[in-house]
């Protein structure tokens, strides 16, 4: 019964000096007090920050950031990828990645035009929309580790007593995009886990494809 909502908002911003031709993707996971009695009021929670960092590494090559640049060195799209957890019953990571992937897959950027006189970028209402091109669709599968056994998709109670976590992110072509392990385990455990991850990822991917809108 873990529930999350992912939403994407776009704004204009100035690119950094180091990357003048790049836009930005800023993931942020919010775990407010609403979702679980363990969280205290007031942002941000450590777990949320940790997850946001993981998402950032996961999404580094997710889309061509140069496509997000509108005027090199001056204006680029910054996409805020926000995931809010409404109920935390364990394994927020998988839910967050799935929701975010679905949202990214359904993102349409409005066309923009540059005003000649001022050089500013504004939205072009007649320009139509362009779909955000994703290089890959990330899917996350998490397992809890107990001694040398693994338990997929832990609930909150299981997370409380686990020895560690293995999170593996595959993409839609079954490449491994990210792998985190916080448990002391052997090679065999990881190999066995990866077999399960592959199966589970294809199930989640089909769910994602079902909610994908063609236009």
């Amino acid at each position: 019964s873990t529930r999350v909502i992912a939403g994407i908002k776009g704004k204009f911003a100035e690119p950094t000096i180091n990357n003048p031709n790049s836009g930005f993707l800023i993931p942020n996971v919010i775990l407010p007090m609403t979702c679980n009695t363990k969280y205290k009021p007031g942002f941000p929670s450590d777990k949320g920050i940790a997850m946001s960092n993981k998402l950032e590494t996961l999404l580094t090559d997710a889309t061509d950031l140069m496509e997000l640049c509108l005027i090199p060195g001056k204006v680029a799209w910054v996409l805020y990828l926000d995931v809010v957890c409404i109920n935390d019953d364990g394994n927020v990571m998988d839910a967050a990645v799935l929701a975010l992937s679905a949202a990214l897959n359904n993102t349409w950027l409005p066309a923009t035009k540059i005003i000649e006189e001022t050089g500013r970028v504004v939205l072009d209402p007649d320009g139509g929309k362009k779909r955000l091109e994703l290089n890959f669709i990330p899917i996350s599968v998490t397992l809890s580790v107990f001694d040398d056994k693994t338990l997929p998709d832990p609930t909150e109670d299981e997370e409380d007593i686990e020895d560690g976590t293995i999170t593996c992110c595959l993409d839609n072509e079954n490449n491994i995009r990210a792998l985190w392990s916080s448990a002391i385990i052997t090679d065999d455990v990881i190999s066995a886990a990866l077999v399960y991850v592959k199966k589970r990822a294809s199930v989640l991917l089909s769910v994602l494809k079902k909610v994908s809108k063609p236009s």
């Binding site: 909502i5 908002k9 942020n28 919010i30 609403t34 009695t37 009021p41 007031g42 926000d82 809010v84």
Partner: protein, 216 residues
């Protein structure tokens, strides 16, 4: 899930959707002065994607103000003497804002409190009203109608009213803008009637949910 009392109220009105969660009463962990009355803490937040513009993850001034409003309104309704030294946490998250968020937040929080079996004097039902100089009145306006500086909906006055239907009392009232006294009274009456209608609906829903949860 761990023996702590937690309950929710979810409201959708038009395109405005929000969820209120109530935790408690729980022990106040800090060693503060002994208080014969319980305390209420409220946190109101727009989700970053809930409004037309991006909302920062940190609470801004408007959200802090609305948090305080909800807190005040709930303090008036909860029987705080029943749980001294304890704290009730209310958290309201707006999933999508299409107007009237404060009024809905009050209603949702009150429903969550009732679900959580926290003793309250009455249900709280909130509503918003926009009044225009040409005597047009809009009840429960959409976001464009409520705030719209760029739309035709400027001028006039806005009312936020929260009512305790069974006790026929006003729990919260806020008026902004400019309006004549006689018209103000009419506006408040219209709000009141709307609240009473909503209250019957909400009470029926609560009754249904209690009936369905009752042991057979």
């Amino acid at each position: 899930s761990s023996g702590i009392n937690a309950e929710y109220g979810y409201i959708e009105m038009g395109n405005t959707k929000l969820i209120a969660a109530v935790y408690g009463p729980k022990e106040i962990l800090r060693r503060e002065e002994f208080s014969l009355k319980g305390k209420v803490n409220c946190e109101f937040k727009f989700m970053p994607f809930s409004r037309a513009h991006y909302c920062e993850p940190r609470q801004n001034f408007e959200e802090k103000m609305i948090s305080k409003c909800i807190c005040d309104a709930m303090e008036g309704v909860i029987l705080l003497e029943k749980f001294p030294k304890a704290l009730v946490d209310i958290s309201v998250q707006v999933i999508q804002d299409d107007g009237s968020a404060l009024a809905l937040a009050l209603t949702a929080a009150s429903v969550a409190l009732i679900n959580a079996n926290i003793e309250v004097k009455d249900l709280v039902v909130g509503t918003t009203l926009r009044y225009f100089e040409n005597s047009d009145v809009l009840v429960d306006p959409t976001a464009e109608e409520e705030h719209g500086p760029f739309s035709k909906f400027t001028g006039g006055a806005g009312f936020h009213l929260a009512v305790l239907p069974s006790l026929s009392q006003i729990s919260y009232l806020k008026q902004t803008g400019k309006i004549e006294q006689s018209q103000a009274r009419d506006c408040i009456e219209t709000c009141w009637e709307t609240c009473l209608r909503l209250a019957t609906g909400i009470k029926n829903l609560l009754q249904e949910s209690i009936d369905s949860d009752a042991p057979r």
